[in-house]
């Protein structure tokens, strides 16, 4: 990370918020996540032009334009791929990928697995509300199997996806769970995720008050994780497999070195590459 090397004066969280009015419903958890994200940037004394927020499609994926950072609002499900390309091409930037559970775990599920494996030094913030909100209420991979909807009457019958366990198994180097209703803790967790080397994954429980109003109860259900994070993947797996999904905090920190692209032993001018073709 090159954050400390920046000479500019530290900015307030507000300096990272754009003047665009979000499309989100009143009461949406994503407002708090936006606040937490900008607070994290301020905490780390970053400059907006040295941050890129990359997203796919969905309610939460609108977040890049609500910041004053560089933003990339791409196609559905491919935020992690675009973020990976950006970070590898411009390693000095702070790269945040952000989006929802449908974008990240369903259409983008393959990229999630491989981003964890690849362990590029970037942070992935998923605003998980267990529903497709932009298309008005269809079950996502984290939706309970019996949740009734127009598209899947009586429920999908599919087991809910456990993103943290999957991230751990696939190799993510930093895993945390946050709750949108506690923006200060979320800001601290995102800041820690950005500072951690390699691929950092922050799953934020972010209620959808429109299609999942019962998620208002999350406020009473969440708690600080009862134990300190572990660097032991087996122990972390056991905890993540057995908790009720409401433990908030850093849950796993690994020690894998961040991904680097191949560096040649010798450097050449482009014009010299033709040597191998000459007869």
């Amino acid at each position: 990370m090159t954050i400390s090397a920046q000479p500019q004066a530290a900015l307030a969280p507000q300096a990272f918020k754009s003047d665009y009015k979000p499309v989100w419903c009143p009461g949406c958890g994503d407002y708090s996540v936006l606040s937490s994200l900008t607070k994290a940037f301020a905490l780390l004394e970053l400059q907006p032009e040295r941050i890129a927020v990359v997203s796919g499609i969905g309610c939460s994926s609108r977040i890049p334009a609500y910041t004053t950072c560089y933003g990339f609002h791409g196609v559905h499900g491919r935020a992690l791929a675009a973020a990976t390309g950006l970070k590898l091409a411009r390693p000095e930037l702070t790269v945040i990928a952000a989006g929802g559970d449908g974008d990240g775990y369903s259409i983008g599920g393959n990229h999630f697995l491989h981003a964890c494996r690849r362990n590029v030094d970037m942070t992935y913030v998923v605003m998980d509300n267990h529903v497709y909100g932009m298309t008005k209420g269809q079950p996502s991979p984290t939706t309970e199997p019996d949740w009734d909807s127009k598209l899947s009457p009586g429920g999908t019958g599919m087991r809910a996806f456990n993103p943290l366990v999957i991230a751990l198994a696939a190799g993510a180097n930093f895993i945390a769970r946050a709750f949108a209703g506690d923006p200060n803790t979320t800001a601290a967790l995102i800041a820690e995720a950005i500072s951690a080397p390699g691929f950092s994954f922050v799953e934020v429980l972010s209620p959808c008050v429109t299609f999942r109003p019962e998620q208002r109860d999350w406020k009473q259900m969440v708690r600080a994780a009862p134990v300190q994070w572990t660097d032991d993947a087996a122990r972390a797996a056991r905890r993540l497999m057995t908790d009720d999904g409401m433990n908030i905090g850093v849950l796993y920190k690994g020690s894998r070195a961040a991904y680097r692209t191949h560096v040649a032993k010798t450097s050449k001018r482009p014009a010299d590459l033709e040597e191998e073709f000459r007869i």
């Binding site: 665009y20 990359v54 791409g74 990976t84 590898l88 393959n110 990229h111 491989h114």
Partner: protein, 577 residues
Amino acid sequence: MPHGTSERRTSVSVAIAGSGGAGVMTAGNMLLEAAAQAGYYALMTRSSGPQIRGGEAAAMIRIATHPIDGTDDRYDLLIALDWMNINRFAAEIPLGAASVLVGDPDQGEPPDVFVKSGARYTPVAFKAAAKKIPNGWPNMIAFGLAGALVGLAEETLASVVRKSMKKGGDALAGSLAAMRAGVEAAAAIAGVPRIGAAPPQTARWLVTGNQAAGYGAIRGGVRFVAAYPITPATELLEWMAPALAKVGGALVQAEDELASINMILGASFGGVPALTATSGPGLSLMIESIGLGITAEVPIVVVDVMRVGPSTGIATKSEQSDVNIALYGMHGDAPHVVVAPNSVADCLLTTQWAVHLAETLQVPAIVLADQFFGQARAVVERPADVAFAGDRKTAPAGAESYKRYAVTASGVSPMAIPGTPGVTYTADGLEHNERGTPSSQAADHVAQLEKRARKLASIDYGTHWADVEGEGDLAVITFGSCTGPVREAFARAAADGVHARLVSLRLLAPAQPTRLAAALEGVRRVLVVEQNHTGQLYRYLRSEYELPGTVTSFHRPGPLPMRPDEIHRQLIEWSRA
């Protein structure tokens, strides 16, 4: 009859076939290198069975006294170390009554398909002869035989053997002895034409189209590549991996084509010229995101090394059937650039040009290469240096009230690069206003559609839009790997006193109606030549261009390469009409 008395020709074609482990590719490559060393032009294509490793294979080499970009109508010589599954390749190795067929009698009789051609058969006991030579192998006998029959000097053949077996020792001695046994066996075989005197020496390369395209990309400024393996584009990516690292760039292997296209969009958004290479199935997966590149105005280059489609099709064979998807694949009104190289060497220029166009116009560019060039290895004139480089218009720091998608006269608007203060913005696939704010307003949609369309007309495509050659009131319009065979057909027709014009389109999109009209002025018949089942280029030309006189479509699908005779016959027929 000593081979010294054989006819001398400007082009000789040889195929060497055999089953897995027989080493026919090694022998073929060595023949290609020997021809290069002796000062000839040459081109080698290959064919192999479906096995991942081993399996029957054929190396097809054409040696010529002049530059060549395609295969000839027939092979003058087929050497088969055995006949295992050779029927699979029979159609790719057309023989005639003047051809010479050499096979190992201990491996059985030549198959009917070759016998029927009337080719003269001579048995050579490769396996038995190789057994008598310590460390000798049948493929080295075949190499010596082929080299001697086409008229390459024994010393040239020996130097290639030495070069390819740098360890020396018994293995080298065995290979040299086997090669010499082949040269001796040649004395008993008549009827193979010898190649004429080598042309004057010029600077030349031995290169594949995939390598040339990769090098063109680097010359154009590409410094980021995302790669997902797919036949026949893999070698382009594999060549670029170490080469990019040497020039300070980066290549990452992606988990799928959806990832690779989005990785390059991310890298290019970050200001680094970026490319991926794929083939039809991968291009299909990338299409949605190429549309993102168009709307968000992120320059990228996608090389499509076309293979036989649709679906998995025939992965190792050429077909020019991705014209439609490259031109029309995107949903919405999506102006972009499509270019097509028309020779192995031109893969360099065209890919370099594609980078230049993409960067200058802030638009995705698709390079429609094809398997024939991609995987052909050829001796070519060293391509001329061209100055095309990435020329992206960027926004300076703190530009007053910066508008990323400003509606400018040219349509091109300065692009802020992350890291630049005061001009941050969000690149968006949603329709947007000039600032980049998502907008569903009709006026914004129309203004941005027109801006994006206008960009493509804002640059001078110069003389590179097509190769235009020849005179006369007959014309052939073609592109890609059909160009070489069309040129040969023209040379033959000229010998018959029939002259025609060639337009080999390098720039497929945006269409250049004014330029084509000028190129075809006075033409009364047009033949559109392409290698696909439905005449995709013909249909595109009919929709975008006013073509003069009678227009005929000559199209047929792969996997067999277009051959000069097919086009020559059409020209002669016309000239009599």
